[in-house]
């Protein structure tokens, strides 16, 4: 019997499912709230009840990332690893790594000031999609269809001027059906996939109301998902793909703390069970 610790900051259905599966598999399972956990430079692993392996499941990316760095400092095995979380949490780092590994991904332009981004956009031509480098659930993702929209969006960014607002991530608008594909990988193995259909706009995030529908994993999807997972450093990931009318499947995002409650209802394989088994085997190796 092993002990699995699920670190959370907001206890969602997914964390409860993971806890239940771990218990049903005969393992000891604990839920630990990151918000009330204190760590210092003299801390030792024995001071805490982290068990044999931790699944980091914070909904706040920065909280989860920094908590993961503490766990690795204490030599506690954690999924996902800090390096994986760090890369997947930043769209620019992730896109660069996908491209570096020859994984088809949308053409993306990076600028480091609003003036430079505007100059590039006028050179490349409208539309492009602007995305915040940090963020999820489609927040701040907007198609820039003309100069007026661009100027309005850039002006707001210049006013708010948070550190990440200075990084301009502009991506080609992909011609595709009004849906994308989410593949969940566990240890570089695709275990389930779904189509996420747009609820009207061009975004396909389930958090925004996109309708999930089971998707059969084709050989092409499998190959791309495996390659993407390996490129990021493995672990438990959500690989997002679009069906480009000209180029075929392309990977536009890899997610770190993957949400799966919708897909779990229709998937053939038991997603939380696979995650727990992978975590246990990860530390047995």
């Amino acid at each position: 019997m092993s002990k699995v610790c699920i670190v959370f900051d907001r206890l969602r259905t997914e964390e409860k499912m993971l806890h239940k599966e771990a218990s049903e598999l005969g393992h000891d399972a604990v839920l630990l709230d990151a918000k009330i956990t204190q760590i210092n430079t003299d801390s030792n692993r024995e001071d805490y009840d982290f068990g044999d392996v931790v699944l980091e499941r914070c909904v706040s990316y920065f909280r989860g990332l920094h908590f993961t760095s503490s766990l690795e400092f204490l030599n506690v095995p954690v999924l996902n690893k800090f390096e994986v979380a760090n890369i997947c949490g930043n769209k620019m780092f992730m896109t660069l790594l996908l491209k570096k590994n020859n994984i088809p991904t949308p053409k993306t332009y990076f600028s480091f000031s609003s003036d430079s981004a505007a100059e590039n956009l006028e050179k490349v031509g409208f539309p492009l999609v602007i995305k915040p480098v940090i963020g999820s659930w489609g927040r701040g993702v907007m198609p820039l269809k003309d100069k007026d929209t661009m100027e309005a969006v850039f002006e707001i960014r210049d006013i708010t001027d948070s550190p990440h607002d200075r990084i301009y991530y502009l991506q080609e608008l992909i011609k595709r059906p009004p849906r994308d594909i989410r593949v969940i990988t566990v240890g570089d193995e695709p275990i389930a996939a779904m189509y996420r259909k747009s609820s009207g706009g061009f975004k396909t995030n389930v958090a925004l109301g996109a309708e999930p529908e089971i998707c059969e994993i084709t050989k092409e999807m499998e190959d791309l998902a495996v390659k993407s997972s390996k490129a990021m450093g493995g672990g438990i990931l959500g690989i997002d793909m679009m069906e480009d009318e000209d180029k075929g499947l392309i990977v536009h995002e890899v997610n770190n703390t993957v949400e799966f409650k919708g897909l779990a209802k229709v998937a053939q394989r038991n997603i939380p069970k696979e995650m727990i088994e992978f975590a246990i085997n990860h530390v047995r190796k």
Binding site: F8, D9, R10, L11, E15, K16, L31, D33, V59, S60, Y61, F62, R63, G89, P132, I134, G135, S136, W137, R139, S162, A207, G238, N255, N256, T257, V258, E259
Partner: protein, 55 residues
């Protein structure tokens, strides 16, 4: 237990765990269960959605 905001009755399931969010059915305020000992439940204001929330 009643909503600290509007005094409506909150529905807290018996199997709810610490860390779970309960929403007031009337005013929509979100609370996090901070302590639970049998039927004794303590709530705190839930965090609002942050810029870095998500997958």
């Amino acid at each position: 237990m009643n909503c600290p905001e509007c005094d409506a009755k909150l529905n807290i399931p018996d199997d709810a765990s610490v860390g779970e969010i309960v929403s007031c059915p009337e005013c929509g305020a979100d609370y996090e269960i901070s302590k639970k000992d049998g039927a004794n439940v303590e709530l705190k204001q839930a965090e609002t959605v942050g810029e870095d929330w998500g997958e």
